[in-house]
């Protein structure tokens, strides 16, 4: 019996030890060792190579830990905030509202002093739009102290892509110059029994991205932001017009069949294998298409305009950013590493190795043709994270799912607009 008590006691001690050690802050106390968490599977090899170079140069070892897919990564980071086990450097996936919450909870270091040092030397090397995503202005709507809280390591834009060979087969030598011509091509695609536009519209955020660009084009930024603020209703004719574009596209035959449940990986396969004429995808696709079909003959363009009244906008800005853990004992080392990582030489290497657009604007001289087209669209880019106001998630979901309903012919644009507005009013009432 004594043996039993001893064994039980030993088990309890070991279990308690494991539990307690699990609550310890992450990372070693060794200053020559930095831990970075990320989700970017396509950049893992390049990061490892850069880590080797940094260790050779400074003696500081950088341990990149990959956690994929991005959803799992996101949950891991959130869980780590509760256990105070965030690494020295990490990225945040999500909306500005969540970013602000991380800052208010004291998990992210304000990088403004480092960015602004030496006449803003570090800050000035980035595209302003890439930095804006990581910035909180004074008096922002997120009740977050103003500052720069993240370091963009690359930039991205989301654009329309067209297959040059397939367009030629249909009798077009150039991509469509406006939406009407785009729909005309749709009719030809339908006749030729080809697939038109493919995209990851099963992952609804890409629908939101596409629709927002047209909302900016049809009614301008001001009116879009006023809608988010609750001053303009979604039943406004301009919003109905935005929603009607999806019905027009479906009727013309420009949308590939099965688009509403298509995941982006499938869309990328279809476009890379020349089975679709158009794609709507982010600049990361250059690397993906290169891997799938190096001979793919394609170009990138802004989505064709509906109106001349306002410029066409696309989502863009910082692709991926890294933040420094404010509670880490190695903040200075982490900042130094990020300064090095965003230097011209390292950014050049990252761009070449991963075909992503560098965040350092001094590195844009040697880009492949399509990537240069993506880079050229940075000036037309916008992103919800820089608008200063955020739409309710329930409204975004109702809007995006509503567009799916329009495409499958279940609802009219007017019905969707009504429903979205009712969700908006419900959320506003809840907030009040």
């Amino acid at each position: 019996m004594r043996k039993f008590y001893l064994v039980s006691f030993a088990i309890c001690i070991v279990a308690a030890g494991i539990l307690i050690s699990g609550c310890a802050p992450h990372g070693s106390k060794n200053a020559n060792y930095i831990t970075v968490w990320h989700w970017m599977t396509d950049r893992e090899a390049a990061f490892m190579e850069l880590a080797k170079r940094y260790e050779a140069k400074t003696g500081v070892r950088v341990n990149f830990e990959l956690y994929a897919p991005s959803d799992a990564y996101s949950q891991k980071v959130r869980a780590a905030t509760q256990g105070n086990t965030l690494p020295d450097v990490f990225g945040i996936l999500g909306e500005k509202r969540d970013f602000g919450a991380f800052i208010r909870a004291g998990h992210i270091l304000d990088l403004s002093p480092y960015m602004l040092a030496n006449n803003s030397e570090w800050k000035n090397q980035f595209f302003s739009k890439a930095l804006a995503v990581n910035e909180f202005a004074p008096g922002n709507n997120y009740s977050t102290p103003p500052g720069i809280y993240g370091v963009p390591i690359d930039v991205m834009t989301i654009q329309m892509l067209y297959n040059k060979d397939l367009l030629k087969q249909l009798g077009f030598n150039k991509p469509p110059k406006d939406f009407a011509e785009f729909l005309e091509i749709g009719k030809k695609i339908k006749e030729a029994k080809m697939q038109g536009l493919v995209s990851g519209w099963g992952e609804v955020w890409m629908i939101d991205c596409f629709a927002n660009g047209y909302a900016f084009n049809i009614m301008g930024k001001e009116k879009v932001l006023n809608t988010i603020k609750g001053k303009v209703a979604y039943t406004d004719p301009d919003w109905v017009k935005v929603l009607s574009l999806f019905k027009d596209m479906q009727d013309s035959g420009i949308l590939a069949t099965g688009l509403v449940t298509m995941i982006n990986k499938n869309a990328e396969q279809l476009f890379a294998n020349s089975r679709a004429v158009f794609a709507f995808n982010g600049s990361w696709c250059v690397n993906v298409y290169k891997g799938m079909n190096p001979n793919l003959n394609y170009g990138a363009m802004l989505p064709p305009k509906v109106s001349e009244k306002f410029p066409m906008s696309i989502w863009g800005g910082a692709g991926s950013s890294f933040m420094v853990n404010a509670k880490s004992g190695k903040k200075e080392e982490a900042v130094k590493f990020l300064q090095w990582l965003t230097g011209k030489e390292q950014q050049q290497y990252l761009a070449e190795a991963t075909n992503n657009l560098p965040s350092n604007k001094n590195t844009l001289n040697k880009l492949p043709e399509v990537l240069a087209q993506f880079a050229g669209a940075i000036e037309s880019s916008t992103h919800p994270n820089v608008w200063g106001v955020s739409e309710f998630p329930a409204v975004i979901e109702a809007f995006d799912k509503g567009i799916q309903s329009i495409i499958i012919g279940e609802k009219t644009p007017e019905q969707v607009a009504q429903h979205v507005q009712s969700v908006k009013e419900r959320e506003l009432a809840k907030k009040r």
Binding site: M1, F4, Y5, S8, I11, D71, S74, Q75, R78, T81, Q82, G94, E95, R97, D98, A101, F102, R104, A105, H107, Q195, G202, E203, V204, A256, T257, G258, L259, V260, T261, I263, N266, L270, R275, P393, A394, I396, E397, K401, G402, Q404, S405, I407, I408, E410, R426
Partner: protein, 291 residues
């Protein structure tokens, strides 16, 4: 001496109680507690809102109840079609047939495959443009039936439910087979001596003795089917629109898209209570039937 005996008894039970409490009871109570807060999962501060989250689920969240109905539909198909197939195959393999071990192995392959892989493979098979299923339909002279099975709101949920059945029937098969093998062969021999034919033996021997097994399979099917979501994420992502949304996807949406951890916890508790209630009702019902 008596106190020592009592303490010893408690000492034997304590490890199980501690483990159960740490991994089940305390998390359940904590989730219930979180369900009464408005919390984004990041900030250390939480706002107590009482039962508001639960009230919102019951009075405003139509999508949640639509997702419950979808899960109910998948469960209904699994309870009938999946379990009928599993039982018939188990009956077939219980007889002295050639290569029965090979069949047992084959039938048990789908359940051990990764749900994500199964979902992606079936998505490819059912694809409207280049899917194998449509190619096969055209090949057998039924081109009119070929369409995009997963993007059509009329077929998406049924397609997902059938794939779910394909993935899950192996469990039912295995349990039914184990149940059939525990029926004493003497009972069949006695029935035959009494002049019973195969149908009568099945009705009067097999079915009554298989009821407890069927109840177990039924409860496991309900619990498994109502909680299905990995397959659905891989095949449709809950779309088109809300046509293949299920409760677990809604809980994930509340946590990830809306950052409403408190609401997600309330949804989880509501869902758990509903599942327990359904299982309990089914158990009571089958007990009554047996009596």
């Amino acid at each position: 001496m008596r106190i020592k005996d009592t303490l010893e008894n408690y000492a034997f039970v304590a490890p199980a109680v501690v483990i159960f409490s740490i991994f089940y009871l305390i998390p359940f109570l904590y989730v219930f507690q979180l369900g009464m807060f408005e919390w984004d999962g990041i900030l250390p501060t939480k706002t107590f809102i009482g039962l508001s989250n639960f009230i919102e689920i019951f009075t405003q969240d139509k999508i949640w109840w639509n997702a419950m109905l979808n899960a109910g539909y998948i469960t209904l198909i699994a309870l009938t079609f999946q379990n009928a197939v599993a039982f018939l195959l188990a009956l077939a393999c219980d007889r002295e047939i050639k290569m029965k071990n090979f069949y047992r192995l084959i039938f048990f392959i789908p359940p051990v495959l990764s749900e994500v892989v199964v979902g992606l493979v079936w998505q490819w098979i059912l694809d409207g443009n280049y899917g194998m299923f449509n190619t096969w339909l055209r090949g057998i002279g039924l081109p009119g039936l070929a369409h995009n099975w997963l993007s059509d709101p009329n077929t998406a949920l049924t397609a997902v439910a059938i794939v779910h059945c394909w993935k899950g029937f192996g469990w039912g098969f295995l349990i039914f087979l184990a149940g059939l093998q525990t029926i004493p062969r003497e009972l069949y021999e006695a029935a035959r001596v009494d002049g019973a034919n195969a149908g009568q033996s099945f009705k009067n021997v097999t079915i009554p003795l298989m009821i407890p097994v069927a109840v177990l399979v039924g409860i496991l099917t309900i619990l498994g089917s109502m909680q299905a979501f990995v397959l659905i994420i891989a095949m449709t992502g809950g779309g088109p629109a809300y046509h293949t949304e299920v409760p677990v996807l809604r809980i994930l949406a509340s946590m990830r898209a809306s950052s409403r951890f408190g609401y997600a916890c309330a949804q989880g508790i509501t869902f758990g209570v509903i599942l327990v209630a359904i299982s309990f009702i089914q158990y009571r019902f089958s007990k009554k039937e047996r009596a």
